[in-house]
Amino acid sequence: MDSLSSLIDGFGTALTPLNLLWAAIGVLLGTAIGVLPGIGPAMAVALLLPVTYGLDPTGAFIMFAGIYYGGMFGGSTTSILLNTPGESAAVVAAIEGNPMARAGRGAQALAAAACGHFAGGMIGTILLVVLAPTVAALAVDIGAPDYFAIMVLAFIAVTSVLGSSRIRGFASLLIGLTLGLVGLDQMTGQQRLTFGTLELADGIDVVIVAVGLFAIGEALWVAAHLRRTAGESIPVGRPWLGKAELRRTWKPWLRGPLIGFPFGAIPAGGAEIPTFLSYVTEKRLSKHRDEFGRGAIEGVAGPESASSASAAGTLVSMLTLGLPTTAVAAVMLAAFQQYGIQPGPLLFEREPELVWGLIASLFVGMVLLLVLNLPLAPVWAKLLRIPRPYLYAGILFFAAVGAYAVGGEPLDLVILLIIGLIGLGMRRYGLPVLPAVIGVILGPAAEQQLRRALQISDGSVTGLVNTPFSVTVYAVIAVLLAWPWIKRALPRGRSARAED
């Protein structure tokens, strides 16, 4: 039980007063951000990247993880009380949760969601403890060709699995890769796309790209289409669950993670797909199927549990392989890069204190979140009354602070605005933002691994596919790319049944 003793050491790290403070700040911020419209955990972590300049890595990641989990908790509150999901992961919570709230059972819906997040997060994090060291041990021998294959998989997966249009996903990815090219070539020191300017020689900082695309782009896009009449929140009392509800919710709570965790670990867009799958599953298994659509508590409990478990699954891929599967993980990866730490199989050997402290803090954060959210849900709902001009002005303000903190250069603010305008255009024309961010963050690393692999094989392309691991990954990529054609070739059995 090597990981158990490591975990106990991790609790030693996580329970120091300072790290407890960061965890508390993280879950508070995360819940607030989950409740607030227009600002998601990815944007929040991006806006907080500058604090990495003044904070030790362990504290920073404990805070970021708190924001990630807290965002999931808070997101379902808005879904249930306002029918406007704060995060894409909370869309499903609105389907059953909002009818429940309108029928005067908001308190039960909130409790089912909060306990679901707690159960999902706990089970997911336990799976993370069990699985992550094993995955890391298996992956410890992987070399440059394997890393390159994983990164290509990340590129293809974020463009093909997410969003409605592949071509727009690829366009977004290429924009990101292009931004990643700017600066000195890491291997030869050759200037690329700098147009001879000294300011661009260091490249465009990942912080500026992430803040520009997530924060400025979003704020400007909302400004262009700001809803003039805000929705009304349904007043609600303190969340609680009766015996009858508990009997209906405990199974969905336990089933959710089984769906959420694996989907979080693969690059399939985080919590959106598993929450929906969990909803469909609960609907099929429920004895109260007629209540679905009109406020069935199972439809809140299962998906919410799945969404928190998917966050834990995401951390498995990010920590053991350096593979970001969601926007939050991508920005956290950027934070790792800021510290000069390379997430991957060796992370568990090189930075045990950081990794296990982070994992232990997830358990601590879960408990804090349950305590914060169960009794205080009505208080959090009050955040929805914040005037929108202040909210979006605040986002622009903190984005400016963050970008300026990178290097103290006013020019960075101009670059930030330009990238923000790109982000605005991407939202206007349906180009997903995530592929661009993944492109910027992983692009330079992928190029390095590619060149390293080909250097080893002396230029022979076979050097990219000379390990079983890389061959497997390329096979997965081929399936992903060919999926639209495979789907057409498959018998139409499933879709026909769905139409019945």
Partner: protein, 179 residues
């Protein structure tokens, strides 16, 4: 994103103009095309023989990215001309039934640029407060006592937290020199 790409732009002439109307998305293709050409030109004109190490030099990846940009630009143009439309992103505070309010966006961009210019001479506490107040004003807040007050407090607190507590230096400007 200029007002020229607005669907409400007055229809001028017919023929090509008319067929392009409502297809402002072709502008995205154009941008991708320009970007591709830019990346390729930069890669081709690069002086590579100084420090070539390994079989792949600094130009290979840019060439691949550049070519792919051109390919995607063309494919996207085909998609748009066939009637494909990028779905504008929704959100809780977003009302897509109204036409885009690009005046507010331009105002916000202006306020943001002003901050970039003023942060040096005026220092962060003043330029940041102006940024917040200006943005809130552009977004429709017209409370002439509360808005500047919040802006000033937020800016000062942020300055102290970053500059003094987190150790991330921000320019204090003349105001901090006086205090």
């Amino acid at each position: 994103m200029s007002t020229g790409t607005e669907p409400t732009a007055p229809p001028k002439g017919s023929g090509l103009r008319a067929s392009l109307r409502g297809r402002s998305e072709l502008g995205v293709c154009l941008i991708l095309l320009v970007l591709g050409v830019l990346v390729l030109t930069d890669a081709v004109t690069m002086d590579t023989d100084i420090t070539q190490r390994g079989p792949i030099g600094p130009t290979t990846v840019p060439i691949v990215v550049g070519v792919l940009l051109l390919v995607v630009a063309v494919l996207l143009a085909v998609d748009v001309l066939r009637g494909g439309r990028g779905e504008a992103e929704g959100g809780e505070d977003i009302d897509l039934t109204e036409p885009g309010d690009w005046r507010t966006v331009a105002l916000l961009a202006g306020v943001f640029l002003a901050n970039a210019v003023l942060i040096g001479p005026l220092g962060f506490p003043i330029s940041g407060a102006l940024l917040f107040w200006g943005s809130a004003y552009a977004l429709g807040s017209r409370n002439l006592t509360r808005d500047p007050l919040i802006a000033a407090v937020l800016s000062l607190v942020t300055y102290v937290v970053f500059n003094n507590l987190l150790g991330v230096p921000l320019p204090g400007g003349p105001l901090m020199g006086v205090l």
